[in-house]
Symmetry: C2
Subunit: 356 residues, 2 copies
């Protein structure tokens, strides 16, 4: 005889769970430290002063674009561990991924650390995916310390998804510019001396497909997924946008932002000035010719590390909803005429400072 | 002042953890049901009678090889949910992945279910990765029910990693044959009416690279990772091979098996007849011209679903260590002359029957 399945939505996770999609952690997980490394162009953007390291060239010591991206992951994790005053052997589990086929930036970048690795793929949402799973591992009591690492590289991404750089292809204004960068985050069940933020909840996202097929307008492809995750999050937690200082998507860019705000408005949710997007923040699109904004799973990761965590750490912001967004296409799926579905994973980040 | 990092190895996870790499679940996670779908060639192999569905052609209703693999994932999950007497809405979280660039078999195969998705990539170890993370999510109290889905397809894998089928390229005897198949597993905190097995522990693996570069001998590339994970597992749990009825790797094939047994023997661990390999079990290599054996993340998944769980369910085996193995290469990394590192994730599966 089957037991009733009606207990599923609340289930054993009832003490943590709000609704069927989100998790409220009974005890916050600490973002103990982080580090970001970016390319020259990102360093010349509006957030340039906040990144830990700005590369002097785009190869970062590698001999190919893929190796360059591996070096970014290797170095951002090294720096984050060092800033946290830890050793790499203190990291019990790694949660990491990138945009390249078969995640080679991660495999070749992190293998030297010889730590157990959970390889992830959520396109440009991978930073949110990694923070979500690492928080679950810590909150579940399976490790004290975990690290999350993600990356993207303009040149490896152009090669992987579009055209070799040498083609000098033209890009429409709806296209985004893949960020060259990597950030690593040290998550822990204990605060350490000076935690950057607390993770108090997550809303893992579903794939949402509005049938768009334009890989040069990925903001529009991903916006429906972001809208779905944000709406679901607010519903699960019984919150309104006013409960957040900022709701920050990953890389919708200027076109995707308009779609997101419209879609949420149709559901009666007005984000207004509370919404921003890592892809919009990282570049001065007019001066830097980056069109709709930055993108890539390095984009949301480096903006989180360098900018968002800084606002939380100083108490300027009390609580943000960080919603990295991913476009689930490959060169093959695009060439076969498939749609570009989106996914977005939301993470609640709060200031470690006591409320004033 | 930094707090001591010496607590890391035991940490808050002490009640679950054995050593620095493994997790012992305080309460077992149930494998409530599973389903497997395979291609014609797999159906003609020694395990043919055990698979739930054998396709009549290799497209499974799709119009491309990639779509065919998506159909495999879609259908195996549908069947597993149905066999478990559940609805897809009972599945709170999906943990899934495949071998294709950017995981498109998973994205396009599972999006119709509209469930939150954790996208994974561990090459042919992905089945173990998915079972590990889903078990952690359930044991941590974050969901009652989760599903794990993985797949591979001979034709999509040849296209992704080697040559288009039309080339009719020759393969050395050390090469393996990518299994066309997908399996889905329903994991739960509660037993349901007739659970197939219990998951009582896991040993997530590290990347191990012996510097091999031969993508036509992936068994040898992955064997060092399998040896590392198995040795670490036995050490963490203070067990010997005799504590397991079988220790079953994913897709080392006949060449990789010899490397594995030698490497473990050097460490004083003799697996002997207790070792088998899903890639060796699934094909009759001589009759079916599959050379060293089967491979692909569908290989270990369908053998687990159809054969290994059956032995546990009937009590013929009491406890097995399931160790899917992955080769972390891409077409790009291979063409750039990179090595082929390996990874292996171990899962302890026990019979649901009381000991005789």
């Amino acid at each position: 005889m089957m037991e009733s399945t009606e207990t599923t939505a609340s289930g054993t996770g009832a003490m943590f769970a709000c609704g069927a999609q989100s998790i409220r952690f009974p005890v916050p997980v600490f973002v103990r430290e982080s580090a970001s490394i970016v390319g020259k162009k990102e360093g010349e953007g509006p957030l340039g002063e906040f990144f830990d390291v700005i590369g002097s060239d785009e190869l970062f010591g590698g001999s190919t674009w893929e190796e360059a991206e591996s070096c970014l992951q290797r170095d951002s994790l090294h720096l984050a561990v060092k800033k946290a005053g830890l050793h790499t052997t203190d990291i019990r589990y790694l949660f990491a991924g990138d945009l390249l086929g078969q995640g080679i930036a991660t495999s070749f970048g992190l293998m030297q650390y010889e730590r157990p690795l959970f390889g992830l793929y959520g396109a440009c949402s991978t930073c949110g995916l990694s923070l979500t799973l690492a928080s679950m591992a810590i909150s579940g009591g399976f490790t004290d310390i975990a690290a999350c690492v993600t990356s993207s590289h303009f040149a490896s991404a152009e090669k992987e998804f579009r055209f070799p750089l040498g083609y000098g292809n033209q890009r429409p204004l709806s296209a985004t510019w893949t960020v060259t960068g990597s950030a690593a985050f040290i998550l822990s069940s204990s605060a350490g001396s000076s935690p950057r933020a607390l993770i108090t909840g997550v809303t893992p996202g579903k794939i949402v497909d509005y049938g768009l097929r334009d890989s040069m307008n990925m903001g529009a492809c991903m916006a429906p997924a972001a809208a779905d995750t944000i709406a679901r999050h607010l519903d699960d937690f019984k919150r309104s946008p006013a409960d957040y200082d900022r709701i920050i998507t990953g890389d919708l860019g200027q076109v995707g932002q308009r779609v997101l705000l419209d879609l949420l408005s149709e559901r009666g949710i007005e984000l207004g000035e509370r919404h921003t997007d890592c892809g919009i923040e990282i570049f001065d699109c007019k001066k830097q010719d980056t069109h709709a904004g930055g993108s890539g799973c390095g984009c949301s990761a480096v903006v989180l590390s360098a900018f968002i965590l800084r606002q939380l750490f100083t108490g300027r912001w009390r609580r943000v909803l960080f919603v990295p967004t991913g476009a689930l296409l490959s060169k093959t799926s695009f060439n076969e005429g498939q749609t570009v579905p989106g996914i977005a994973h939301a993470v609640v980040l709060e200031s470690p400072l006591p409320a004033a």
